[in-house]
């Protein structure tokens, strides 16, 4: 998988400007960032520096105002809505701070959801969902509703949902933000295991302790990358 030459993700001079009430907010001002297959990156920086914005651009939830974004060698900065939805569905796995499980659906159905959008056959779905739930240790809770789970369990389900479709990259925006430290540790351990098994992860976190888990930390300030450290293994 890792061919070492073309990065999985390549951002070049990416900018993002928000226009609200005729006030321009430069959330990102010229980001250069490469992410290679199998990397575990953590993004850090003060509040409002543009971490979430960067992540949503990486996840194709939002389009950059300028610059180029290539994913697996393809330019994706200016794709149409359906195209972006398709890539989100196949290549990106999201893990949110507030889990964002759908309350009306069971654990199983939540994990299954992105696979349904992909039009995967029922049998394959079943296998993928079961596998993903087993992987995060939630196989025994498949029939539960999110409200019947603890926060840590919910986030593990959210991780399962993110990886069930075997995406190219997992994006996590403060995945431990709503968890106590013990549960937070558990989720972090899970991410590290996934990484060890080959997953590419890009995570935003405030917590310096958790940032240690990653092999590389990117520091943002005022919409720019100000530091890019490879953590010594």
């Amino acid at each position: 998988m890792n061919n070492g030459n073309t990065p999985l993700i390549q951002l070049q001079e990416v900018t993002k400007v928000f226009l609200t009430d005729e006030v321009e907010t430069h959330a990102l001002s010229g980001i250069y960032l490469d992410i290679r297959d199998g990397e575990y990156i953590s993004i850090a920086g003060p509040s409002g520096c543009g971490k979430s914005t960067l992540l949503s651009i990486l996840g194709l939830l939002d389009t950059p105002s300028g610059g180029s974004y290539s994913l697996k060698g393809t330019e994706v900065a200016n794709l149409s809505f359906p195209e972006r939805a398709r890539i989100r569905n196949r290549e990106i796995g999201f893990i949110f701070q507030s889990f964002n499980l759908i309350g009306d659906l069971t654990v199983y159905e939540n994990v299954e959801l992105p696979l349904t959008y992909r039009g995967m056959a029922a049998n394959d779905r079943k296998q993928a969902v079961t596998e993903a739930l087993e992987r995060v240790g939630m196989g025994h809770r498949a029939k539960h509703l999110p409200s019947q789970l603890s926060g840590g369990q919910q986030q593990r389900v959210a991780v399962a949902r993110a990886l069930a479709g075997k995406p190219a990259i997992l994006l996590a925006d403060e995945p431990t933000g709503n968890l106590d430290s013990r549960n937070g540790e558990a989720v972090m351990d899970l991410l590290r295991e996934l990484h060890a098994a080959g997953a590419t992860i890009c995570m935003v976190t405030h917590d310096a302790r958790f940032a240690q888990h990653a092999d590389r930390t990117v520091h943002l300030f005022d919409g720019r990358v100000v530091e890019d450290n490879l953590v010594a293994a």
């Binding site: 939830l61 989100r88 949110f96 507030s98 759908i102 919910q154």
Partner: protein
Amino acid sequence: MLNDLRFALRSLLKTPAFTAIAVITVALAIGANSAVFTLVNSLLIRPLPYRDASRLVLIWEQFATMGLERIPVSAPEFLDYEKAIRSCEQIAAFDYTAFNVGGEGNPERVSGAAVSPSLFPLLGVDPIAGRTFTLDEQGEGHDDRVVISARFWKRRFNSDPGLIGRTILLNGRAFTVIGVMPATFEFPIPLFGVQGNRFAERVDIWKPIAFTKPELEARGSRSYGMIGRLRDGVSRAEAQGEISTITAEFIRSHPGNYDGGGFGATVYPLRDQIVGGMRTGLGILLGAVAFVLLIACANLATMLLARATAREREVAIRVALGAHTWRLLRQMLCESVVLALTGGAFGVLLSIWALDLLKRVGAQTIPRLSQVTVDIPVLIFTAAVAITTGVFFGLIPALASRKPELTEALKEGGRGSTSGAASNRLRSSLVAAEIALALVLLVSAGLLMKSFARLQEVSPGFNPHGVLTAELSLPSLKYPDNKAIAPFFQEIIRRLAQLPGVQAVACADILPLSGTNSDSSFDIEGKVLVKGQPSPDEEVRSVTPDYFRVLQTPLLKGRLFSNSDTSDAPLVAIINEAFAHKYFPNGDALGKRITFDDPKKNPAWTTIVGIVGNIRHRALDLDPEPEYYLPHAQSAVSSGRSGRNMILVVRSAQDPRTLAAAIRREVQTFDPDLPIARVRTFDDLVSESVAPRKLSVVLLGVFAGIALLLAAVGIYGVISYLVVQRTHEIGVRMALGAQRRDVLTLVINHALKLVGIGTAAGLVLALFATRALGALLYQIGPFDLVTFAEVALALGLMALLASYIPALRATRSDPMIALAHQQ
């Protein structure tokens, strides 16, 4: 309280769209209810315009075994009743008549009645000017007095007080006007249903009854209605008992007059006679508006629920700050009551306007419709309904949000979308119920409309298009010679036939679908009756030769009448197909003879010379009955009809209304004192015959439309709210790669689920409800599958449309913003 009110108003004005939709919803429902309740109140509940009307009864005779019910009484019978009866304070006889009003001004024909002098005191209504009849002002030679209506007084005499005591010319004879009855006075009221006349027009002139000598000798010639006032403390059953004794005595003392027909008489409460026929229709409408109200209430409740949920945080903060439950409840109730009352006020205005429209459309054909007004009881009823609606349906959401989950509601983000599941379920059930109710209304309206459409396609047995009708009556004072009458009409017809554009002209004494009829008994040559078996009795009309050519009713066998069928020529008759089937099933009717005399005493025979097609005479939805026709020139000879009151029918190549002036001119050159009356096209006459049905179709259709609209608003509201509520979820789904159509399906599926449940429930409900329509349906069953399917489909499409807009909005949402929504 005032504070609450102010707060309610302020918060309602802050959300104008919500307030407008809520007010319109309530206005439509309350408007429909207040309109129908006004109808019910005016037509069924409000006392009749007579003193102590509950004690008034109509007495009709019957020949039960012959299937003759509610038939009038004859002059000798009336006098016998009058002498014998004890259970009534008074009884009075009345008969419909018409006057050619002469003297100054245009000649015109005015509806009138001949009544016993006792009628006015019996009804307990006093004149506004002059007096009514004294008991000796009746009978031939003593009947030259009239009482007129305030309406006629104003129209023709400009309410001149000097008219009292003066004479006016009626049918060429001088009558002294002795009194004027108030504008509200009406007698007889249409639906009295006196056989042969529906009293389609209000009576403007009352003259004293004057039984003629032949009348006093003809015990079997029944043409008078009879009304009585029960004595205080006498029940209807007691009166019935007495009447039965009297009729039994009739049979005993007049053998030969009441042979074997199951003769008797029945006492009917006056009110039943008037309102009986409207009860079903109004009952159905009442049910329909109740449904509309329920739908509106459900809508209001879902809207208020959504509003309450949206305010959950506000309420939670208030409760956290120590607000009392009761205070919050009061505030919410205040809001919904303000909404309901405002809507109610608009609703009343709407109903006044709608009733006005209704009066203009249906006043001619619906008895007492002109007196329909919104009055205090209606307003009280409406206010009560509005307040109940407001309180009750404000209470549901108020109670639902009374104890907010404080910790949940106050927590930013929360744990996902579990909160509000109960109120979502409630809202969804309300909308499903709305759909079910709307479906019932739509199915009912659909069935009635189809019935009406099928009725319109029914061939009446003649072609009413292009025919003008007008009434013409020759007063006996000016035309005393019975022999001159037929030649007179012949001459008029000859002249009219020469008018440009006229294709054929004829006269008849009775027209089909006009609400009048006349029957006569006869005997068939060679058919010996078993002792006690009554002679056959069928509908009879007197017509001039071209009648069937004007009506374009086909001649099936034999010949039509011609000008040579004069009074001196052999007597002839034409029968219709039904008559031929009934009496001559072997197909040998032509040439057979009938008589109106005693067949044993060398009678005058009338020969059947032709058979014509059937005509639906009583109503389009009733099968044609046996009828026979006599030539106008002979009918005075054969059956003793005067033939003075005839209806002209003129077929024209152009729009028949354009002929009216020419016809009037032609008649006037013939006799300047002779008015022609009720000039109208045959098409109008036919459509008037179905007007009451049309009215119920239109009203039910309108209510069903309102129901559909409200249900659509309900679905739209619930789905919109759902979309807002699920913005975050939709954002998550999009982040996971949902395409727009996935989101669209998600939302629309939800709507379709509601519709599915509502439709299923509605279909079951409709199975019960449509049975009530039975009597109003024509050539369609109450469970007509096609109608059910069409309505379900239409509702489904409507739901699709109503949910499509919010669904589309959902797909436009930006996942970024959606996700930011709760983070």
